[in-house]
Structure formats: C-alpha cells, structure tokens
Subunit: 116 residues, 2 copies
Amino acid sequence: MTDSGTPTLQLSAACCAPASAEALQAPAAEELAKVFRALGDPNRVRLLSLIAASDSGEMCICDLTDPVGLSQPTVSHHMKQLAEAGLVSREQRGRWAYFRVINGTLMAAAKTLLPA
Amino acid sequence: MTDSGTPTLQLSAACCAPASAEALQAPAAEELAKVFRALGDPNRVRLLSLIAASDSGEMCICDLTDPVGLSQPTVSHHMKQLAEAGLVSREQRGRWAYFRVINGTLMAAAKTLLPA
C-alpha cells in the first residue's frame, strides 16, 4: 500500500490509538445529546431564554406564545421537549402551565462533555 | 368567557407581559441552536468527547472511526457538522484531517442562553 492509495478501515485500525478512558461512552453520550437536541431549535432556544430572563423566574405558557409568534399548541409541544430534556420544570395552575428553568442542566451537560 | 372555556390566543394576548429585553432575539437564537443542534446526536457527542479527552488535544480522523464504530465517510460527515458549528477546528495534513476542540464555543453558547 502506498500513500497514494485510498485510505481503508484496515489502515485506520492499524494507526488507531486506544480510545481515551475519559471519553464518553454511548449511554452517557445519548443522555447529553438529548439535552442538546432539545436546544437545537431556535424557537426552543428563545422560549428557554424568555423564561430565564423573566423577572419572576417563571412564565405562564399564556405569556410565551406572543413573543415567539407561535400558536399555543406549538409552544406546548416545544415546552414538552424542553421539560423532557430536564431543562424546565412545569407546574399546572388552573388552566395554565407555568415553567421555570431548571438551573444547572445545560451547564452540567456542557461541563460533562468538555471539562475545563 | 368563563374559566371552563378553551384558552384562546385572544385571552393569551390579554394576559401577556411584554417580552423581557434580555431574552434572545431570533438571529441570536438561530446561532445558538446551530451549536446545540450539532451536539444533538450521540455520535457527535462521543466524537467531540474523544478529541477533548485525547492526550495531545487533537485527533486524526483515522483514530476516530474505530471508537465510535462508524465508517470514515460517516465520521467525516459528523465532523463537518461539528466544524461548521464552530466546535472543532480542522487541519489537513497529507491524506488525513486532524481535529481539535475549539475551547469556549459550547460554554459560551450555554452562558449566552442561561447567564448565571
């Protein structure tokens, strides 16, 4: 085999160093990916930002629709994904759901992936 | 309208507080979502983790295929998405591409979204 040949997986295997013991394994990677995936949509980023920036630290879903210009069912769908990822908590009060940012989820995910 | 009625957007508008001035606007939200979206896949999370955990701080693409059990074209595709999100830098040396984590991109995105 010469340098001009097409790289193959055999060559790749020959040159491979062992994976670092500190690198994330698949189950942990899936957990982190779930958090980041929830934020992979600009509307969900804005919704989380709105709640984080609110004076009381919580927002009614009824206050979240107008700023993002989406219908309430769509906002509810987005909020469900944020809640399932552990990024917000949800409390039902009468007819409305209220959301708070769960502090630390995002930062913990970032630090787990890329410890300083 | 009574409390037993279906919430409507009219009611929603009536109860809405103005959006906080600190909340992210759409273009900034899209920028952040791009970073998080790149990490919304467990394989890309593992790839970034492998590079971050490597002794030299950089990894050849030829060393990334085996740990994640994917073909080189698939790993190349994932690495391109990480590079486009500003999470890794890429340097071509001869036949192989080498990748380094761009420190700060992920943490800056997290802190922009949820300042402490």
